[in-house]
Amino acid sequence: MQRIGVFICHCGTNIAGTVDVKAVAEALSHEAGVVFSTDYQYMCSESGQQLMREAIREHRLTGIVVGSCSPRMHEATFRKAAAAEGLNSYMVEIANLREHVSWIHKDMKEATEKAIILGRAAIAKVHLNAPLQAGESPVTKRALVIGGGIAGIQTALDIAEAGFEVDIVEKSPTIGGKMAQLDKTFPTLDCAACILTPKMVDAAQHEKITIYAYSELEAVKGYIGNFKAQIRRKARFVDETKCTGCGICTEKCPMKKAPNEFNMGFDKRGAVYIPFAQAVPKVATIDADYCLMLKNGKCGICSKVCGAGAIDYKQQDEIIEREYGAIVAATGFNPIDAKVYGEYGYGTCPDVVTSLELERLMNAAGPTNGTLLRPSDKEHPHTVVFVQCVGSRCTETDERGKPYCSKICCMYTAKHAMLIREKYPDTDVYVFYIDVRTPGKNFDEFYRRAVEQYGVHYIKGMVGKVTQNGKQLRVQASDLLAGEQLHINADLVVLATAIEPDKTARSIGTMLTASMDTNDFFTEAHPKLRPVESPTAGIFLSGVCQGPKDIPETVSQASACAAKVIGVLAKDKLTCNPCVASSDELLCNGCSSCEKVCPYGAITYTDKEFRGPNRTTLIRRVASVNPAVCQGCGACTVACPSGAMDLKGFTNKQIMAEVDAICK
């Protein structure tokens, strides 16, 4: 029989406002085994914890039930408090009276009744709790960063600076990501390449960093501290170790029809190419879709011109396996395909472009060498219209767009407008917006400069339609403030398209068993308190893969993420989750059902000797669970027909006791 203490938290008025906490404490005081029951303003506060500790001492408590907020919030807090008093942490159970009761129910009587029932269930469980001891597992002191954009680079650099090895896996031939494609950056207007490329070089040169560019994650096994990842190193058909990046091959390649991704397809590149001058690693890659040699075995020029002998048409994808202690997802984003918004003419009218395309059209290293020219006739545009929120902040009924705000568009549009007006003062610039959102250091000042200093026309309203009208574009829009319809003849229309997580994020999330939201952004362990961790231990989140953010935010999150990773790698051993499966050898018949459903391969079988009747010995095959490998999902417990396999902390009897208490 346990001696149970019950503590009902008011959580200010969060719980006490809807639940009669005194009545709950009183009702639960009559439950079998309860020797102490009380309520308190804030159980999680220092004095609340003190109250619990005193009660443990004074009443010799062997079990604790706290009626409070979600265990996902403060279970650890109360466990620590109990442990400080010498009570095993796993003798604490939480009845979730806030998220599951007071916050969702309005009627005091009903909420109180439900609170009492949840309290009873927790008491019933604690009766069957047993002290659990956490085991330990070693840590591989290397991190994997998936994605080589500014987020991945920053995280990798910070981890490496702390003295740990980091591997970056980047699916494209070079690291740099989206930032490498940008022209200037708000709100300081410094050039993206100038601030990014040194970091890329730092990463390339850092002795602790290994970059696997043109590589993709194939599979991940294991758990925090002990991941095993398979990385597919896609065939570049160029030996990375030999290529000097001289670029002769790219010049001599006769096949010049491949669209240049880096310039958003505005120009062409060769079948063998280096994405841009500052690419890291600066090695050529042969595009198998275009290479004549690879396609029909005729050409081979690049091989002939390469002084280093780096060209290797026979190169194959290679899969390497590496071990890691922690994994960072920095998979980044892409603009959505603006073609779905046919009314804006994208894809049909060549002079309707996206903001990222505009970045390239304005960049000195871009297809126009930095001169803003219309894609259609390479003329200077005199009237430019920006359309905001294309695919962002959509209502639920709009299946083409995203419900969220893409966050960066207001600022980069202000930047674009300002840059155009500065370079080409004869240009009229219109911005159609729903709201202008400029929270951030020096952001609003930046926007006001665009309006006040550069005379950009900001019009609150929606663009209804963009149609080709001769050489010009006819923009139909409404001015909400003036309450009138507008028709503007524009030379260039720029769409601020929403951004979405990279398409590969979903499959990577599945590999990492990291949960994702409906928009395919990785879910953080806690939206406020653990924003850079995935709920899956050992998986961390950096950059836009977690949610839209601009460069400064991305970089700070990347560093925060690195700090978390360093926190894991700095440890020699990790404490394991003690809530793991274990097999009762006396019941186990070694049928292997459990092994088949274990995702971690934590179950093995051995032949063991048992005492049989009349002093005989029986040899039986029985299962045993490696507690460092088991993550405690419990799949095996249901696969086991004899009930030999049970899960500590969530035993069959504990769960059934909760069921009984709830249904009573």
């Binding site: 006396l586 019941l587 186990c588 018949n589 070694g590 049928c591 292997s592 059902s593 088949k596 459903v597 079988y605 029986l618 040899i619 039986r620 095959r621 696969a639 027909p641 004899s642 009930g643 030999a644 069959n652 009897k653 059934m656």
Partner: protein
């Protein structure tokens, strides 16, 4: 058949291939054979019997017998070989200690069927030309063999031996047009109310004697959850309709994907509850949801509950 089996068993005993023989021994009546282990030629010659009433599936005895000293000879009918394979896949029997003779089978007789025809006081049963001559204290009568055939044999799924060391008689084929799911389909076609009434009628007869469980080759747990006082679900009696349901649902679930549909559960039920209809429902569903699977057919194939696909149907 009996002669051939006996002869071969005597040979294998004599040449030391096996030290024991698992077969059937004669009963008081023409139909009540008991599974038995014979250790000597004399015992075999005295007591070994094989006839149309030797329906018992001997494979489960091998859990115990294959762990004893020496090799044991076992006679397995086609359906028994599936159970044998399944036990092998679950590491419950030691293959090296077993010599399997597959015996051909065209269906076993069910004495209950004879009795249901009003044949009481049976003193002798003789088989000739597809007919049984049944002698009773009240006179004799002839019955067509198929009229006395056990239900499970009428819906035989396979006459093929999936494992054996040698065969006596012919090896058959998997019965592709077997109608074993007919009754399941009939039940499925009923309304829930009708189905509920049907199963209440059947399961309410349960006396929880555990014969179905103890005879089942898949129920080979060291201790059944229903016998384990620490499991929290231990039951000893069919106290009420809930416990009847609980026992039979959970038992069927525990053998789901492992049950070879050997039909022993229904054969032994003293209350004639068609327990195989529960197992067959699971088998039918698994086939329909996750592709054809026959437990015991291929020990290396993953059972439906031990694997999954991304596109499985929703529950």
């Amino acid at each position: 058949m009996q002669k051939m089996m006996e002869k071969r068993a005597l040979e294998l005993l004599a040449d030391g291939t096996v030290s024991r023989v698992l077969g059937w021994s004669a009963g008081e009546f023409p139909y009540d054979m008991t599974p038995a282990v014979f250790e000597t030629a004399e015992e075999l010659q005295d007591g070994f019997v094989y006839n149309d009433f030797c329906g018992a599936n001997l494979s489960k005895y091998l859990i115990k017998e294959s762990r004893k000293e020496g090799k044991i000879l076992v006679f397995l009918k086609p359906c028994d070989t599936y159970s044998f394979n399944q036990l092998l896949a679950e590491h419950r029997i030691i293959r090296d200690n077993i010599y399997v003779i597959g015996i051909e089978c065209y269906g076993k007789a069910d004495v209950e069927k004879l009795k249901a025809m009003g044949l009481e006081g049976i003193t002798g049963i003789y088989m000739k030309d597809g007919e049984y001559t049944v002698e009773t204290v009240y006179g004799s009568q002839t019955v067509k063999a198929y009229e006395a055939m056990a239900e499970r044999c009428l819906a035989c799924k396979s006459k093929k031996h999936v494992v054996y060391d040698e065969l006596i008689g012919e090896d058959g084929e998997v019965v592709t047009d077997c109608n074993r799911f007919d009754m399941v389909e009939q039940l499925e076609a009923m309304t829930p109310e009708q189905r509920f009434a049907f199963w209440r009628g059947e399961l309410s007869r349960c006396i929880r004697c555990n014969a179905c469980r103890n005879v089942c080759p898949a129920c080979s747990c060291e201790q059944c959850v229903f016998d384990n006082p620490n499991s929290g679900v231990a039951q000893k009696a069919a106290v009420n309709s809930f416990e009847e349901n609980m026992f039979h649902i959970i038992r069927a679930f525990h053998v789901a994907g492992r049950c070879t549909d050997c039909g022993e559960c229904s054969r032994v039920c003293p209350q004639n509850i068609p327990l195989h209809l529960l197992n067959r429902k699971f088998i039918k569903d698994m086939n329909a949801f996750y592709g054809e699977y026959q437990a015991g057919e291929d020990p290396d194939k993953k059972p439906p509950l031990g694997t999954y696909t991304l596109g499985d149907r929703e529950a």
